[in-house]
Amino acid sequence: MKKNKIIIIIDYGLGNLNSVVRALVATGAIPRISSDLQELAAAEKLILPGVGAFEEGMKGLKKRNLIKLIKEHVQKGKYLMGLCLGMQLLFQESEEFGLHKGLSLINGKVKKLELKDKSYKIPHVGWNQLIRPKGQNWKDTILKNVKNKEMAYFVHSYAPFPKNKEFILAQTEYGGEIFCSVVAHKNVMGTQFHPEKSADVGQRILKNFLKLP
């Protein structure tokens, strides 16, 4: 059914959305970029992308009256996936350039990567492993056909730390710091890495999101 393939990418003024569009097209999805409240309210699946600073991201959402819309979308049980900054915005607050409130869809804070090994550089740029935490099962999730420790592409200095450990679908280690790289709580999920830049594993994850019932 054509309707099932439509994924709307929220345009809130941040980042180059074309790469997300291109990657989604390749999965067979029908992606649309939109900031139109009616179009977004009618969407079954929303993607919250984003590159840039947390405060700016929240400002962009506020300016376009998108915060209430996103919360209602989630309340209705519809799917929302945050990518990179978009994943960080799902949380309660972030320490980036001051303390700023997020969407509070998932409990926890976004903090700067605290590296124990100072030979590692900030930002965290490059490919790194997605590790399945003990007791976590990837079956029926967006990681269902991802192998443990497959690598994805990261570019970030801050990372989310969910309060509920069971929402940590995957974690990643960098310079001695272990952070949440994939979060999932019912119909809300997010990846700290860029699936649209993570080659085949990224394509699989986006396709899994597309295929969610």
Binding site: A23, V51, K121, P123, G126, W127, M151, V155, G175
Partner: protein, 252 residues
């Protein structure tokens, strides 16, 4: 352990993929999009596209190649070659670039580095340095595809670039470029051990062992190469497998 990235560089003139030695003398080695696709399939971690024509009139042609590549190749792409203004950067990003590499204009007008970093984010701003090793062993930065000396020491300039907001440094050895004789390990180590941002080392890779040296001796965060791949001396996958066997964390 930090993972290392392998990044093929594709220099484009018109519709052709080109390779030079010491940044000049151009040899046609194929078609850019076909090579990009092949390298992506072979496991390239990122791609660098350089526009060798770099003139206002031919820019569209080059950006069309970038755009078509972006439709199928889902790894980060860095685009460079004659980028001068924020408008140039915006166009390149819209065509599918994730990062922009600037050399000449960054030295002529260093403010462009902070302008790009502030507008698009530091992660987007790769400062490209082309460095000549002099007979006395000292180093000097060059602009205009290795033609114009600047009197700048690469370490001094690299530190300045970091202050201005550079996200990464693309460090090319003019002496080693195209020779397949190995990287300039001293140059790489000089910069990587003295700047807090990732350094992509370029110039001279001719065999798998060269990559290992650049990582273990030079501390490079990423390796950029063209001749070895364009002239099929080694495949990307072979290089990565070898590095993994040497105990280096790398995406296979």
């Amino acid at each position: 352990m930090k993972s290392v990235r392998i990044i093929p560089k594709l220099e484009v003139k018109g519709e052709n993929l080109i390779k030079g030695i010491h940044l000049e003398g151009l040899r046609i080695v194929g078609k850019p999009e076909a090579a990009a696709w092949r390298y992506y399939q072979d496991g390239a971690d990122e791609l660098i596209y350089i526009d060798l024509v770099a003139s206002l009139y031919q820019r569209d042609f080059f950006l069309n190649i970038v755009e078509r590549t972006a439709q199928r190749v889902f790894i980060p792409m860095t685009v460079g070659g004659g980028i001068r203004t924020l408008a140039d950067v915006k166009m390149a990003l819209r065509s599918g670039a994730d990062k922009i590499a600037i050399n000449t204009q960054a030295i002529k007008n260093p403010k462009i580095i902070s302008d790009v970093a502030n507008t698009f984010g530091s992660q987007c701003m790769v400062v490209s340095m082309e460095v000549q090793r002099k007979t006395d062993g000292s180093y000097e930065c060059y602009t205009d595809s290795g033609r114009t000396p600047t009197g700048l020491n690469p370490l001094t300039w690299a530190k300045q670039a970091v202050k201005l907001g550079a996200g990464e440094i693309l460090l090319t050895s003019i002496n080693q470029d195209g020779t397949l004789n190995g990287f300039d390990l001293n140059l790489i180590k000089l910069v990587t051990t003295n700047v807090p941002i990732p350094v992509i080392a370029s110039g001279g890779a001719g065999k798998k062992e060269h990559f290992r040296q650049a990582i273990v001796i030079g501390y490079a965060d990423a390796l950029c190469a063209s001749s070895i791949f364009h002239f099929k001396k080694a495949k990307i996958f072979e290089v990565k497998k070898y590095l993994q066997q040497q105990g280096i964390k790398i995406r296979i």
